[in-house]
């Protein structure tokens, strides 16, 4: 390991190191990162769709979607740009609820969004109580710059996988890289393995 002359760092004594993945630092802010303008889809035009390799496609209007069984989730989130935010509080529909009764044929999914953003995930990271489609943050409707009306929430992966302005999930039997995954970011993005970029 190469040391940096004169660098001591500012370790924070109030952060439990077991909660920070390697290379991350804690922030109390909620930074915004996105590749283009923030879309503003009116709720009456919003719908959510599950399609692809699962037999019958499903979709919900905003009213139907927010009437689905929901959960309140407290989670630590980790952005690939190095910040982590601990104990964030969300409300949303578990992906398990959206997929209940379907028979997915493949092992992969692509999340697609207003504005054209996509991200790919193994189905395994979306099911079994690991992922939600969140529409509230901190007890308030999710703000547009943070992905409202609804975003994917997959706290176990780097936060670019928690796609903002989510409109649907397409299941697939083959893995297709999404937006950032095509621009050099890791295909899976596990913060605890520090899977930031292609070569990690």
């Amino acid at each position: 390991m190469a040391f940096t002359r004169g660098f001591h760092g500012r370790r924070r004594s109030d952060v439990d190191p077991a909660r920070l993945p390697p290379g991350q630092y804690e922030t109390n802010a909620f930074p915004v990162l996105s590749a283009g303008p923030t879309p503003h889809t009116p709720l009456e035009e919003w719908s959510f769709a599950i399609g692809g390799a699962l037999g019958e496609a499903r979709s919900w209007t905003w009213e139907e979607f927010t009437a689905l069984p929901s959960e309140t989730v407290t989670a630590d989130i980790h952005c690939v740009t190095k910040w982590s935010k601990l104990d964030t509080s969300w409300k949303g529909v578990p992906v398990d609820v959206l997929l209940a009764g379907t028979e997915p044929r493949g092992r992969f999914a692509v999340a697609w969004c207003d504005g054209g953003y996509t991200t790919n995930l193994p189905l395994e990271d979306l099911t079994g109580g690991k992922a939600w489609v969140a529409y509230q943050y901190g007890g308030e409707p999710l703000a547009p710059e943070h992905g409202g009306p609804a975003r994917l929430l997959v706290p176990r992966l780097y936060f670019w996988k928690s796609a903002k302005w989510l409109r649907g999930l397409n299941l697939a039997d083959q893995d297709e890289p999404g937006f950032w995954e095509s621009y050099g970011y890791h295909n899976r993005g596990d913060p605890w393995k520090e899977q930031r970029y292609w070569s990690d």
């Binding site: 760092g9 630092y25 930074p31 710059e145």
Partner: protein, 221 residues
């Protein structure tokens, strides 16, 4: 300025991760935009010192010529431009968000590209404008550069057509090109600035897909 042995080259607009390691193994890393064009022999980073910034304050206050850093990159292929791309190059920068945009303009000049290029830059005062002299040179040559200063009451004598208010619709319309024209927009700055600039562009009728954004600052990319 850094010498990077084995640097694989980069595109204007990309960034690098800089990692610092203390003697006890403690590490901290942050991302910084590359200011130099791909044609430049050395890698140039422009670091804005963030109050209480663990990495930026070390790099600005303590780093000396000859020091060695761990570097990773180039990173990010979306907020990037090269002279082979068609369409006008329309840049909007807030504060230190101008850094990757300057790399694009330097690249354009280095290869002698004739691309229609424009820049709208927002800063607090003229003294806060990074690359002020280079931008003046670029302006005198072939780049349309518009400036707005948000913390002064009157335009300075040596930049007399500067606006003196926050970015608004008039400025973005003046930057052009007209909606429908073939153009690539690159917007970089602090989050509220980027949100507003992108909103104004889409509001004027520009295709949202032609607008690339990158956030800058103590807590962003």
């Amino acid at each position: 300025m850094l010498d990077v042995p084995g640097w694989p080259g980069h595109l204007a607009g990309q960034h690098v991760d800089v990692r610092l390691t203390a003697e006890d193994g403690y590490q901290a890393q942050r991302s910084y935009s590359i200011a130099s064009p791909p044609e430049s022999e050395r890698l140039e980073l422009t670091i804005e010192r963030i109050e209480d910034g663990e990495v930026s304050s070390y790099l600005v206050d303590d780093a000396r010529p000859g020091d060695v850093f761990e570097l990773r990159g180039p990173i990010g292929g979306y907020f990037a431009w090269h002279a082979g791309l068609d369409g006008a190059l329309a840049l909007i920068g807030g504060g230190s968000g101008v850094v990757p945009l300057v790399a694009m303009l330097r690249h354009r000049r280095a290869v002698g590209a004739q691309t229609d290029a424009r820049l709208l830059l927002s800063a607090r005062t003229l003294e806060d404008v990074l690359y002020r002299e280079q931008l003046r040179d670029l302006r005198d040559s072939s780049v349309a550069i518009h400036l707005t200063l948000t913390r002064v009451s009157a335009a300075p004598a040596d930049w007399s057509d500067a606006w003196t208010r926050r970015i608004d619709r008039e400025m973005v319309a003046e930057l052009g090109p007209a909606p429908g024209a073939d153009a690539r927009f690159y917007v970089c700055g602090p989050t509220p600035f980027v949100e507003e600039a992108a909103r104004l562009l889409v509001g004027l009728g520009h295709d949202a897909r032609s607008v690339r954004t990158e956030r800058f600052g103590p807590t962003g990319g």
